[in-house]
Amino acid sequence: MNAVSDRSKDIGPFIPAADDDMIICRCEEITKGEIRKAVHDGMWTLTELRRYLRAGMGLCQGQTCLKMVKEIMARELGVSPNELESATSRAPMRPTEMKIMGKEEGR
């Protein structure tokens, strides 16, 4: 994105919806309603939302729910999903045991 973003811009009130209980992030069991509420709490980027709610921070690291989270956030903010930058993917590629990650030649 990297555009100047005024966090006081009015995005309207949070309006409860019938499907707010739907689980979107399966690893961390975060619902659609929680994601929508977080946007109204000021979490306007995927990175902030991850840090605030843990959505996409579980075992799959968002590989399953990222697109859905992005779409829900974009709708709440009134922007296109393409305008929201994806959150950063980080090592390791798959969850890795400490004994394997810590193993190097001769140690």
């Binding site: 994105m1 100047v4 840090r51 390791p92 045991e97 400490m98």
Partner: protein
């Protein structure tokens, strides 16, 4: 929008967000300018979550003790957002006689400052944390230390400050500070000019370039520090942990995951994979932290790492932050060079800086952290 406010804060990290919260709580108008797209994108969301007094320099210890006594216990309630604060002690572990000497030195200095910290033997360490390796022969123990969730705490301050009317702008890069008739008045960004009676610069290492535009230079450098997090594990312990040799530090979060931080020891001279505001993990550090952890917690060898990340620490030449007014530039308040100790003292720093700006004085003595302490060697 209105580009004028009582206070413009440069830096949307936990220091900027906390100060914005305490200022707006007392009725001041505040604009916060954050260079990245995300609030709390520097050390605020990349640290290990320690809320400690032990191991602190006597000059900053009063702030740490004040925050833990007066602000942290009720912070989640005040911000209406769970900061996951635990005040259940800090163990700094030792395995050799040399380790114990290091710990004794740290303990003696903290006791001299009036902190409740003591040396304990292996048996007592095991009673506090039964999961530790039998190789641990002792530890320093500070029962009033603890940890919290740095990401949630930073965003909780942001959320509440925003609700109180603080105006946050992200993606806004500050180019220069400008004086008008001898007093700092304007903050110029790529696209806008902001005006305020006071300007707080709390932008981590980036504060350096910004302060240079009004002739101020704080002696500091930046250093990479890395963290990792495991999948959720059954609950084991609530203490904050560290070691005499700083092999690693960390805690188990409410979520069940373990968050551990550490370094490879080569950071200062190795090439840095990161870019501005996006520090990169090195390929050797997470493995190194894992080896450090397994030496103390053999049971964690099967815990899966799900994520690693890195952050920059703004390390001050003399190891403590630079806080407060700067005589050379009336209207300027600085809060940077936190040297990796920023998170735990952030609520106290925010509250005291709001006091400094509104009342002209603080209730906690921060005079030893002033900018004018730096002198040439002769």
């Amino acid at each position: 929008m209105n580009n004028k406010a009582d206070v413009v804060i440069v830096g949307g990290g936990i220091i900027g967000c906390a100060t914005a919260y305490y200022l707006t709580k007392r009725g001041k108008s505040v604009i916060v300018l954050e260079v990245s797209d995300n609030i709390g994108n520097g050390g605020s969301s990349r640290n290990g979550g320690g809320v400690r007094q032990s191991g602190r320099d006597p000059r900053e210890l009063p702030l740490a003790m004040y925050g833990i006594k007066n602000l942290w216990p009720t912070l989640s309630e005040e911000l209406e957002s769970d900061c996951e604060y635990h005040k259940e002690g800090n163990l700094r572990l030792g395995k050799t006689e040399k380790h114990m000497q290091i710990l004794q030195g740290l303990t003696d200095r903290a006791v001299a400052c009036g902190l409740d910290v003591k040396m304990i033997k292996a048996k007592e360490v095991k009673e506090i944390n039964p999961y530790l390796s039998d190789e641990v022969i002792g530890a320093s123990w500070c029962p009033t230390d603890g940890h919290a969730n740095p990401m949630k705490t930073t965003l909780a301050f942001y959320r509440k400050a925003r609700m109180q009317g603080a105006h946050f702008i992200t993606g806004e890069k500050v180019k220069t500070l400008k004086k008008v008739k001898g007093r700092l008045k304007k903050v110029v960004t790529s696209a806008n000019v902001y005006e305020a009676d006071y300007v707080l610069v709390a932008a981590g290492y980036d504060s350096r370039d910004i302060l240079a535009t009004v002739g101020i230079d704080i002696p500091m450098h930046k250093e990479l520090m890395e963290c990792l997090v495991t999948e959720a594990e059954p609950h084991m312990f609530n203490q904050m942990l560290g070691t005499a040799e700083a092999d690693f530090y960390g805690h188990q979060s409410n979520h069940g995951s373990f968050v551990f931080g550490g370094s490879s020891g080569l950071e200062l001279d190795n090439s840095d994979a990161g870019t501005t505001n996006a520090p990169g993990s090195s390929s050797i550090t997470a493995s190194c932290i894992c080896r450090g952890i397994m030496k103390y917690f053999p049971d964690l060898q099967d815990a899966k790492i799900v994520r690693t990340w890195a952050g920059y620490i703004d390390i001050c030449k003399d190891g403590v932050p630079v806080l407060g007014f700067v005589d050379e530039v009336p209207g300027l308040v600085v809060a940077c060079a936190f040297t990796g100790h920023g998170f735990g003292i952030a609520p106290a720093v925010g509250e005291q800086l709001a006091m400094l700006i509104i009342d002209g004085k603080t209730t906690v003595d921060i005079s030893k952290l002033r900018y004018d302490r730096f002198k040439a060697k002769i």
